[in-house]
């Protein structure tokens, strides 16, 4: 398992494109927002939490087909499927690798970009915490979508269509938590719901992902 994790991380780091792309996309969305809604600081401060969450989600979505597509093409997935390691565990590790290369950089970059969007200082903790709790769910759900569409040529757009409705609850609670803490309100409830979603998804989703991947490798 550790070998697989290290391998995935190393691939993401060395292949270029992968690791930085999500971050760059995150930055691009955040930069474009003031151009589209206007540069008034109060307005930006009000929507900052939601915009940052949305940008993080889109950046995550962008990198999803990278999770499995390359391994499918060069046959690594077949090796993984026949390896002694259960496919569920292998997919969990792949989701973890995706989170470490996409989710964690987003969490780290979010406070910096929050400055650009004039997020109230009180909201920084809530934003980071909500992203930290929510992005694992995004990675795990995304792995399911990637496993679902792995055999399909040009499945990227289909992948986004399939995954987006599944992302809705995470986005709602995550953005709500960030928004509430930015407004100085109590954000415990949405944070707990977010943690609940992440925990539930972490526990159950690998089985669904493995099931569809087995069908696709059949």
């Amino acid at each position: 398992m550790r070998a697989l994790l290290v391998r995935d991380l190393r691939l993401a780091l060395r292949a270029g494109g992968g690791f930085g792309l999500g971050l760059a996309f995150f930055l691009i969305v955040v930069v474009l927002v003031p151009f589209s809604v206007g540069p008034q600081p109060e307005l930006l401060g009000r929507i900052a939490a939601g915009v940052l969450w949305l940008a993080a989600l889109l950046a995550c979505l962008l990198s999803l087909d990278r999770i499995l597509a390359l391994d499918f093409e060069d046959g690594t997935l077949d090796v993984l499927a026949t390896a002694p390691l259960p496919l569920e565990a292998a997919l969990s590790v792949k989701a973890l690798a995706h989170w470490l290369t996409t989710g964690v950089p987003l969490v780290v970059a979010a406070p910096v970009l929050a400055v650009l969007l004039n997020l109230p200082v009180a909201g920084y903790g809530g934003l980071v915490l909500s992203l930290l709790l929510g992005t694992p769910a995004l990675s795990v759900i995304g792995t399911f979508g990637a496993a679902l569409t792995v055999g399909i040529k040009r499945g990227g757009l289909l992948l986004s269509l399939l995954v987006l409705p599944l992302y809705v609850p995470t986005l709602i609670f995550g953005a709500e938590a960030a928004r509430r803490s930015a407004a100085g309100l109590d954000a415990a409830t949405p944070l707990l719901m977010l943690a609940g979603i992440s925990a539930g998804v972490l526990a159950l989703m690998p089985f669904a992902s493995a099931a569809v991947l087995r069908v696709n490798l059949r």
Partner: protein, 249 residues
């Protein structure tokens, strides 16, 4: 003699051919009767005027949109557990009908909402969860049509349907939490206190019956079509093989 016998496509087709004319006729009767009763036989609402009559389409369509997904869920489970092809094809056949119902509910809702709430669309929990349901249907259908091999497609869409159902319920609560909206509470329930007035209630029931029958008829009809399409495919593949052109799957 059990229900599972109809998992055999031949028996299923024979039964559906016998049942379908009755279903069409009953559906037409209920729909025409119910709509005519609703539109001409009931008074205008004292506050909403004649716009209230849109419920005769809106409520049954919304009901069938959700029940359609539920039917797909049951059919998917049957396919995953017992591998009956008719079940998978029924799930596939139900999706376009379900998405149409969802669209009808959304559009009639917008048409009703414009004069009543003064807006075509509001980000209200119920409306939003219907929009999400619509997206689920679209994704489901897109996945079906993106995969060549029918068995693979059936497996993948079944799992998607299961996962989607869980998330649909989750989204329902999430959007409730997210925004308290305009939509009125349930207008139909077994609890008499909450129901709409009797004048509207009975034609509405007839309309709902009509929509249910129409839904069933459409799904049965489309399932029959799917079965025939698959047969054609199999025949063509066998023909190609015999011609020595290699199997086109």
């Amino acid at each position: 003699m059990s229900l599972w016998e109809y998992a055999n496509p031949v028996k299923f087709l024979r039964l559906s051919e016998r049942v379908l004319p009755w279903l069409w006729a009953l559906a037409a009767l209920c729909l025409i009767g119910g709509l005519a009763w609703g539109y001409f036989g009931t008074p205008d609402d004292y506050r909403q005027g004649s716009t209230v009559k849109i419920i005769y389409i809106h409520v049954p369509a919304a009901l069938m949109a959700i029940n359609g997904w539920f039917m797909m869920l049951v059919a998917s489970l049957v396919w995953l557990i017992r591998r009956h092809h008719v079940s998978a094809l029924a799930a596939r056949a139900a999706a376009p009908v379900g998405v149409t119902m969802t669209l009808i509910a959304l559009i009639t809702g917008a048409v009703w909402g414009q004069p009543m709430w003064g807006t075509w669309w509001a980000w209200d929990p119920r409306l939003t969860s219907f929009l999400i349901l619509f997206l689920f249907y679209l994704g489901y259908m897109a996945l079906w049509s993106a995969i060549e091999d029918p068995d693979t497609a059936a497996d993948l869409t079944s799992v998607l349907c299961l996962v989607g159902s869980v998330f649909a319920v989750l989204s329902r609560y999430a959007v409730n939490f997210w925004n308290q909206g305009l939509h009125q509470g349930a207008s139909l329930s077994l609890d008499k206190e909450e129901n709409v007035a009797d004048v509207f209630y009975f034609p509405l029931l007839v309309c709902i019956a009509g929509f249910v029958l129409l839904f069933l008829a459409l799904v049965l009809y489309r399932t029959g079509t799917e079965i025939r399409v698959r047969r054609t495919r199999a025949l063509r593949a066998r023909y190609d093989q015999r011609q020595g052109r290699g199997a086109g799957v």
